[in-house]
Symmetry: C2
Subunit: 252 residues, 2 copies
């Protein structure tokens, strides 16, 4: 095996496992620890992997995709919201889960449930939940958006419209003070609307920062929602709308 080939192999192994110790790589490549060290140093130099004492792991820069960053924003808060939402879903229920970092977190919290029937247009949610043998996970068709793994488009809407589920879990980009639900991509909005229309109980998961964010496309109105889960009590204008429409508010 050539040096270049070995480098490729090492990178592949690290990408597969997340981390490889020197010893692991020694037995995988059948060369001396020193050679592996030299390889790792070179690969680290060129920025392909991150060097650590005893081995090497995934490159740090990979974390810095905008999407991954968003994922760590407000993580503590989002986790609490996610747990609260997961607690509202009974075993055996059928549910929609749409695009969003929060909804993805909710998916991980649902892994201890049993016999859920899930329809989603989020490829990451599908991957997470398909690990459970007793879940039936159905993914919508459409174009996969590269930045967040969301599936959008007309085909997606048509597909979703075939179902009628117990729960719909949706995230949102922003909520304006008059209660309008806002998003950035009109194709995603269509999908969300389809979910809203084909669901018994709609649960909106939104951390407080969403009340201060503007977005371009109107997705619907908070009055279409049955339950709002948030980390803080929303601003007065929203609170009033919630009361008027008998929306359950859950503070995580």
């Amino acid at each position: 095996m050539n040096q270049t080939q070995r480098h490729e192999k090492i990178v592949a192994l690290i990408k597969l496992h997340g981390f490889m110790s020197i010893d692991d790589l020694v037995s995988a490549c059948e060369v001396t620890p020193q050679t592996i060290r030299r390889d790792l140093n070179q690969l680290a130099e060129s920025g392909v992997v991150s060097r650590y004492h005893g081995g090497a792991g995934l490159n740090r820069s990979w974390e810095n995709t905008p999407y991954q960053e968003r994922k760590t924003q407000n993580r503590e808060v989002k986790e609490k919201i996610a747990e609260a939402v997961a607690g509202m879903i009974p075993n055996g229920a059928s549910l929609f889960i749409n695009i969003g970092t929060t909804t993805e977190l909710i998916a991980t919290k649902l892994l201890n449930h049993k016999n859920l029937h899930v329809v989603t247009n989020n490829i990451h949610v599908a991957t997470i939940l398909s690990a459970k043998e007793d879940f039936s996970v159905i993914i919508a068709a459409g174009e996969v958006r590269y930045r967040d793994g969301g599936i959008i488009g007309e085909a997606t809407c048509d597909f979703i419209s075939q179902f009628r589920m117990d729960y719909g879990i949706i995230g949102i980009s922003g909520i304006s003070s008059d209660g309008a639900l806002l998003d950035f991509d009109f194709r995603e909005v269509k999908v969300s609307q389809a979910i809203l229309e084909h669901t018994q109980h709609v649960i909106l998961a939104a951390d407080y920062s969403k009340f201060e964010r503007r977005a371009m496309v109107e997705q619907g109105h908070i009055s279409q929602v049955d339950c709002l889960v948030c980390d803080k009590v929303p601003p007065p204008s929203i609170s009033e709308i919630i009361k008027e429409n008998n929306i359950t508010f859950v503070k995580a």
Copy 2:
């Protein structure tokens, strides 16, 4: 922050990053290296993470799903086949990619191409390829099979039948000596048939072990294929069929 909270935080960080060095965790948790060491040893003891010199990484047991194991079987051979197949695809082409460990590997080798249009029923392929901004990745709808991330079912076939692509890349479970293509799941077979029917050039990627494997469901016949990529020359009976049908054979 108490010990339990810190442990949770450590596990979360490791799951997020794949690997954390002692130093990283020290600055993240603001405790002594020794405390982190103690924590990591406890967590490693209870099997939550894997301990390494200088830090800790994701648990090894995660790799041992049957699917992940299959993925590393014959890896060297499959990589060569994958590279050969990827080399046959021109930039800007449209292609189907179906379920299979080999096809997944092919997807990773396609990452250096430009402007591909891909339709797939493999959730892992979709995840891999959606990382490229200039690709359009379309995923089929249907139920996600937990063991390999394949999407199958009637809806999947209908969806695929809407397209007409340049290339179809398919894997296979087994090939019998009379040239029949075999698989284990009849729902998957339907999808493969749909792909065969809606593709200009069908490329079959199969390592030699497939010629010795039996499977239950007949998916089609090797004569439907335009090109076979394999690591060795197939057995005589197959070679004859290949010649008779003018199938291109590529040895990786």
